[in-house]
Symmetry: C2
Subunit: 385 residues, 2 copies
């Protein structure tokens, strides 16, 4: 049957019908007044989500493209950065840096662990020559499902008086987890369309402040497509240096309207509640969280595979019989964990149904659990009992 | 009123309803079997359109991004290329090359002129040390609305036995104008989603042969997002190194089905007929073509602004009263020409209506023309009288 689909990977997320419909509007001229207004509205809406008055640039690209854009715009070959490496996606930032001749000082964390503020602080304090140009880390690492304390890192960096920029990959956290670009003093925030913004993939988005623009002025890395100055120059007039992804921008406008209607703080609260409900159900079913509990993400949960059950069997059953698509472990975590995304357009009954499906599937695969356990834990969380 | 829209710029083109609807399908997991099948079907369909058995890579990007990808994958800093510069978009290829440290030998043409095969041949013959790595030119330059003789250039290059690759920007010509990648022996063909493929913008597509892959192996230009080897490696397994633009790939599959139903040779014929009808109407109305008639494009027509009529008035009237969006002159051609795109999903009545609207708008702005002139010329072309 054509059943309701639950795309519960940590992004792309389920796209609300309102947004899906907005994607099929007839195309408009990307050099006309109608388009100019669309961009103006998108930027105004994004500023509310990023909590910033800074410039925001949009690229027809994936989120990884937006990460690459920060490397080639802020830095020059030979520059030094600190990059926290704690999973596939935070490691990507370090790897891109090295491809472009950047000297990357990694803070290597076990997958499942968050970065400690002192680890960054120590590197900055040792750097008496102030060679470190930027500290790069994700707010949320989906590989292991942990969240870093960005507010704390920002506070420490301000106090350290080290000139390094704070560059935050908020691809899987923006419009999900609390983030205050201006309030906390983050210099660069990177995101993409297919996570908290609830859009299909295809837009990379970068916000940057005046301190970051100063580095842009000095950068000698070769670039054309990602050139912030060229994009900024055109975007001021509501245009782009090359053809933008028009239909995704229609979708972005719709998504921003939806976010505005709920209110960004309510959205953060909702994600907090959903994350808690998922974790309560995990514990109630006797399963184990893979990530440190204290830093467990509110956008995705990683769960250890119970003994004797294969990931492929679980994922196959969930997909085939319940329309639920979950994520597996990546690289060294393959077969060892499963991951449930709960970001974007996710509300109470979604979590209720998905955790119920996980319980039923595990039960059918021989896992010992009393039916109804997940539902009870989820309901109790929502009813605050 | 909510009237039918005619987006007659030289791309993005009007998107057929079938494709628009396919864009609003619910998202799927980009690492699952359903997605793998989608990619397999897209590549099989693209090969028929490119007329090639070579590898085809897809990027979440604009067409300009795909141009940049060829520069950083085929070349290394210090390499020499020949680039035909005959408008904004062919000049872009040269400009991107220079940003990445490539020595660009330009063949500068007046805007409105096609390149002569001998101009390229002479440069290759003078290059006794075989330093030229590639000859880059567009099949179709939309700035001035001319078409270069790619078949002739390919034949000459084969005969010259010079090892330079032939790199063709077919962004505004693929699936419109005849092009035989394998038959003519083109090494690299670049396109984008929003022209002959009738999709919204957001996909850059590159096809390359074994000769091109050999240069890729040698390239030392820094790259991560555009890295052909990394993309190729993942695409073999129906995946991408980063999140692909899933909904546009749904659209691509639908577009390729539509193209397959008509047949690529019929599509080339239809564009030939549409281009001819537009030019006949232009002449009949006493207007002048801006491009050399012999090389006038069958995807877009550039027309000199009649004395005493402002481009903005013409474009405004067409948009407001007829729902027709046309293109203006770019840079030094601003105000001097107007451009009508007739590529992608364009058939007889579209051309009939659009040229009728142009006639009525010009008439209202004081241009002397007998009403019905455009329609008569268009109809006679279609009825082959």
């Amino acid at each position: 049957m054509e059943r309701r689909q639950y795309l519960q990977i940590p992004g792309p997320t389920n796209v609300p019908d309102r947004i899906l419909r907005s994607l099929s509007k007839p195309l408009i001229n990307h050099r006309g007044p109608e388009f100019e207004l669309l961009i103006e509205q998108c930027i105004a809406g994004l500023k509310k989500v990023f909590r910033t008055q800074n410039d925001i640039l949009i690229f027809p690209s994936s989120g990884s493209g937006a990460l690459e854009s920060t490397i080639v715009n802020l830095l020059s070959p030979g520059d030094t950065i600190v990059a926290v490496s704690q999973g596939l996606f935070s490691e990507r930032m370090a790897a891109i840096g090295e491809k472009f001749g950047i000297h990357v000082v990694r803070i290597n964390k076990e997958w499942g662990e968050a970065v400690q503020i002192d680890e960054i602080k120590n590197l900055l304090m040792q750097d008496t020559e102030k060679k470190i140009r930027a500290v790069c880390l994700p707010q949320n690492e989906t590989t292991s499902a942990i969240t870093n304390d960005i507010e704390g890192v920002a506070k420490m960096m301000k106090e350290s008086q080290h000139p390094a920029l704070l560059v935050v990959d908020a691809i899987s956290s923006l419009a999900c987890l609390p983030l205050e670009m201006d309030g906390w003093g983050i210099d660069v925030v990177i995101t993409a369309s297919q996570k908290g913004l609830m859009l299909p993939p295809g837009l990379g988005i970068v916000a940057l402040n005046d301190r970051a623009w100063k580095l842009v002025e000095q950068s000698t890395s070769p670039k054309w497509y990602w050139d912030y100055k060229a994009v900024q120059e055109k975007m001021k007039g509501g245009q782009f240096p090359y053809t933008p992804a028009t239909t995704l921008l229609f979708g972005l406008k719709e998504a921003l309207d939806i976010l505005e209607e709920e209110g960004i703080e309510k959205i953060w609260e909702r994600h907090g509640l959903m994350g808690k409900a998922v974790r309560k159900a995990v514990h109630a079913m006797g399963l184990t969280l893979f990530a440190e509990e204290e830093y467990a993400s509110d956008t995705v949960t990683s769960i250890g595979m119970p003994d004797g059950i294969q990931y492929k069997e679980l994922a196959g059953l969930l997909n085939k019989d319940y329309g639920v698509v979950i994520g597996g472990g990546l690289q060294q975590l393959q077969g060892k964990i499963f991951r449930i995304g709960h970001l974007g357009a996710v509300d109470q009954l979604d979590v209720y149904a998905v955790m119920g499906a996980v319980e039923m599937a595990l039960y059918r695969l021989g896992y010992h659990v009393e039916l109804g356990t997940a539902a009870k834990a989820v309901a109790k969380t929502f009813l605050k009992e």
